[in-house]
């Protein structure tokens, strides 16, 4: 468990910032993100739309809360949960042999593959450190 306070603050700002960015680019083009979700071929058209409209806001709010240090554990829990979900989704996509964009960062998205999993694992590490960090429970 990491106890170094400045490092934990850096984790909060980096992880929160990344999630805010990821959410904002998706909010700007919800239909494009809906198509990205549809490309995974796991859920239908309607569910893809609903997820594309709500998920970016979840990313933004959790990111803002984490970066600002409000409800740190709750936001770290949401972000870690999302990352576990993204990792599983990417593994399923690789196993199914689909060659698609991950849809993670809007125009900066790239092929859904092991590179994306590594990035997600790095972010998950930060998320879990923050979730289980010692200190005042707010």
């Amino acid at each position: 468990m990491i106890k170094n306070k400045p490092l934990l603050v850096a984790f909060r700002l980096v992880l929160g910032g990344l999630f805010i960015y990821a959410g904002v680019v998706k909010v700007l083009d919800p239909l494009d993100f809906a198509q990205n979700i549809r490309n995974y071929r796991l859920v239908g058209q309607s569910l893809s739309f609903v997820v594309a409209v709500i998920l970016p806001w979840l990313e933004i709010l959790a990111g803002v809360a984490l970066a600002a240090g409000i409800w740190k554990r709750a936001s770290a829990l949401i972000i870690s949960g999302l990352l576990v979900f993204f990792i599983l989704l990417t593994l399923i996509t690789i196993a199914r042999g689909l060659d698609i964009e991950c849809g993670c960062f809007g125009a900066l998205s790239r092929r859904s593959g092991f590179g994306v999993i590594l990035e997600d694992l790095g972010m998950l590490f930060m998320g879990l450190c923050l979730l289980f960090a010692p200190g005042r429970r707010d």
Binding site: P30, A34, G44, Q45, S48, P56, L58, L61, W71, D99
Partner: protein, 163 residues
């Protein structure tokens, strides 16, 4: 225990706020969805006015008239097994797609028909978008794809590209 309950409550509040913000900010889009839009494709008619979805029957008529250029967005292996006669293979895996120069030389008014495997395949839409981005004005996506073309007993051809 109360700590866990507090975190769960906060997670639920963030979730509920996300739903509210999504509904408020995307209200016009949600209204269009409620009216029945985006049930077949997420292509916005204002953004992609040149792309239309067509049935197998319409695709067959266009193909039979010989005026449309047909593109098969499936993988090369599947294309070689069998495809719509005279179709060009442009495997449109969503992560990378380049339109070959000879296709770019086609007149932008030409009618283009694109298809993929069928079912919930999405690569024909990706190809249609790329063609639209290159300036093509009349792109028809054959919903039902190869699966329904084959099921309908329509003509087939084996082997590599004919063009």
């Amino acid at each position: 225990m109360s700590e866990t309950r507090k975190i769960v409550r906060q997670v639920l509040v963030i979730g509920a706020l996300s739903v509210l913000l999504a509904a408020a900010v995307h209200f016009p889009l949600v209204k269009r969805f409620a009216r029945g839009e985006f049930r077949e494709t997420f292509l916005s008619p204002t953004e992609y006015p040149g792309i239309r979805l067509i049935t197998i029957q319409e695709a067959e008529d266009l193909w039979a008239a010989g005026e449309a250029v047909v593109f098969d967005a499936r993988l090369e292996r599947l294309f070689r097994e069998s495809h719509v006669p005279r179709a060009r293979n442009l495997p449109a895996t969503e992560s990378k797609l380049k339109i070959p120069p000879d296709v770019l030389e086609l007149q932008r008014e030409r009618t283009l028909v694109v298809y993929c495997e069928g079912g919930d395949c999405q690569s024909s839409l990706a190809l249609a978008k790329s063609l639209h981005d290159e300036g093509f004005e009349d792109i028809r996506v054959m919903t039902g794809g190869w699966e329904e073309w084959e099921k309908a007993g329509l003509p087939q051809e084996k082997g590599d590209d004919q063009e």
